[in-house]
Each structure stands twice: as C-alpha cells, then as structure tokens.
Symmetry: C2
Amino acid sequence: MKRIESEQNASVKQWKKLYTRKEREKKNQFIIEGPHLVEEALTHSVPIAHLIIDEDFVIPHTWNAHELDPWIVPKKIMRLLSDTEHPQGVIAICRMAEDNLEITPHGKYLMLDGVQDPGNLGSIIRTADAFGLDGVILGQGTADLYNSKVLRSTQGSLFHLHVVKGDLASYMKECQSQNVPVIVSALEGALPLTETKEAGPFALVVGNEGSGVSEDVKAAADRLVYVPMHGAAESLNVTVATGILLYELQRKAK
Amino acid sequence: MKRIESEQNASVKQWKKLYTRKEREKKNQFIIEGPHLVEEALTHSVPIAHLIIDEDFVIPHTWNAHELDPWIVPKKIMRLLSDTEHPQGVIAICRMAEDNLEITPHGKYLMLDGVQDPGNLGSIIRTADAFGLDGVILGQGTADLYNSKVLRSTQGSLFHLHVVKGDLASYMKECQSQNVPVIVSALEGALPLTETKEAGPFALVVGNEGSGVSEDVKAAADRLVYVPMHGAAESLNVTVATGILLYELQRKAK
C-alpha cells in the first residue's frame, strides 16, 4: 500500500505537469482519468506507469487480473491532479506507444491535416474506431492526441485503434505505393461522394476546420470528393463530414 | 447616435440577464454575438430589438440596406455583455420567432428527443440545414436553442431553417397522418440504415447522448434504424450519427 499525503510531493508535482504538451513529449507519458478510460487502457495493455486512486475509490473486480500497485491519495490531491470538475477517484499515468504505423495493401486509414479542435479530434478518432479503420495519422497542425479533452472525447477509442503522429506526404506516398487510393475531402474540383467508385482499401484525408486540406495534400490526392448537400449551411462540421465519408466508403467496400 | 457609458445602465443589466433561459423565455428575446451571426440574422429578417456595437466596430456596407440604429458602448460594456473571451465588437438582441411548425406531406423533418449537449445541438442544427430539411423539432429535455453555445455552433443555421420546441408525440402523430414515415434511431430491434427503403419525405428522430430515444417514442415509430458499424467503439457521437442518417435518407430520396 503506497500513500502520498502531501500536495508538495515531488511525484504529484511531476504528474500535474503532464497537462502540458511539452512535458508529455519530454517524458513520453500522458494522464488519463476516470474508471472507463482506465479500464479501456488496462484491457488493451496500454503500459501504465502509475495508478492513482483516492481513499474512497473501490477498484472494480474486473481489474484484478492486472498487476496493480496503486498510489492512494487524499481527495484534495485527487482534485489537484484532476482536469475535471467532478473527479471520479482514479487517474493513471500511461506511457506513450511507438509512433509508427505500417501501411498494408488491404488497410483502411484516416489522415488528419490540421484538425485543431480537441473535441473534434476526439470524436473523429471515436468515429474511425466505430467504422473499424486500421489506423489514424495525425498530420502537422493537428491537436495533440494526449490533450485531456481529446482523450475524454475518444471515449477510449485510441486504445483500440492505432493512432500516430506523422508526415502526411510520406504516408500518402506509402499508401500509393501499396495501391491504397488516397481520397481527399475538398470542395472545389471534387466528385460528389455518392459517385465514388472506390470499393476496397482507402486512405481518407480530411482537413482543418476553417481552411480545409492544404494545397500540397490536394495536389497529391488520387481523388477529391465532397459530401453532396442541399441546404443553406455553408459546410458541415469536420467531424460530421468525416463520419459521412467513412460510412459511404465502408458501405461501398462491402 | 445612441450611446451608453455606464455599466450600471438599466438596459445593459437587462440584456446581460438574457444569458439565463428563464429571462429569455420571460422576454421572448435572445442575444447573438459577432458579425457573422448578426449578418445572418439581418439577411433572414430575424427581428432585431437592439443592435449594440463598440466604439471601434465598423458596420459592414452590406448591412446598410437594413434600418440600423445601433447603441454605441465602450469596450468595457461590450466585454460585460459578451459571452466570449475575445468580443468581436457587435451584439444583437433578437426577438424569438413563433413556436409552431406546419407538417406537410412532402416535408423532411428532424426531431430531437433530449439531446443535452449545447455543442451537439448546434452542430445537429447546422447539419440539418446543410441537408436542406424543412424543420427541426426540439422535444422535452433538449438543450435550449437560445443558449449562447448552441447559437455559436449553429453558425447561423437556425436563421435559415425552421426550428421549434414541441411535443414529439403530437408531431409524430401529425407526420403519420400526413403519410410522412417516422424513422427512429435505435440500436435494438432496428434495421441497418443501408437496408432502409424510404425514398421520400421522412421524420427522423434521434435521442439523448447517454440513453438514446425514449421507449414511448420508439413504440410509436414506423421504423427503427441503426448505422452499421464494424469496429470496437461502442457507439457514434449523436451528431455524427445524425449526419450519417440524414446523408443516407437524402441520398435515397434523390
């Protein structure tokens, strides 16, 4: 039984710093919070460096199969470490996975070119997971995967799905060399999604909330597509558009 | 030229109160903020009771066709009235529209059974607008349309599209009496969306983020449908699911 009583404890101070991207990248660690995310991490063998629970937290039976040696802390320290208004009594410090995704000729991938909003990024990863993709690649300018709001919005999907940061140009080339067509969401010069013929593996690229996909990425695409709309709204939210694109690509791949 | 200098001004205090749902419903008024939303309101003839600008705000030329008699306020009052971190210099106090939607035999409608999150509600309204629906009905337990976060997320779509609060049971009956099929999003006992045959008017009902659509609503449905998924995520975000459902229903209606 390990206990921490003081808010001045060096580990507490260190863990708290993991809410900054700089510190996460320096330590290769990130924080997750709440029983649902921690259970998902345990189930999917995410390496947990530290498990921290408050005095009242009852460890679920299903966690007993894992080697747990939790730190027990008073509620005031849990509040200090938590990023939410109502801490749920459990936090884990996880180690980041290796940042490399192997592209295969039968794979289905999603690439994000500068999706900035953490809530959008989290929901997009959850959607990619729901549609059974093989990997998600976060290009430059995309929000940090380990931001606490992103982690919450994924609802644990990042533990089922291979999500990596990477250079989109290289990954696109790699896809094309494996005959995986690169399909890019765009408005101008694009084919309506309803008319696409792709019926197998794909790499779908979606872009920034305001400016869309960058010109370089569009120039390297095998096909530009858009979601046909009928109304007065100027565009769909990037998360909704991604959901519709993945639904249609997967429907045609059946 | 009308000016307000004091933060103690009675109108300023009154406008500020419109950030509470109670006050909005008492006065039948709501606040919108920023040049984009105000321009959308002007373009779509939303009745504006007061336009408030700060000393530096330059009224766009395109607004000159409208009769504007703005209040000019110092920046400190604009900050007081604003709900955002970086006020954009313009706010309008609008009058609410009448709360009644006429159902027609050729209409396409979306009904929300308790969508609670303001960001979800706003994005769903924007999506309904993008797909050219004829109206959105907000059932009991749904977030308030005039909440400032909802208004921001709609990006002005509520001014192009008829959005009303109402009793879902009555609206569903009205749809059925006009031969508009009521299609309800559900997981159990439902048909995969890919297999639906509806190819004309519809009323789609989606539910609460956690508990989905209520039993009463499901029992009254003409058809239950779900979005087929392939992966490990337990469900789609309600906004993404609504986007996919509307895309497919509109695709088949072509």
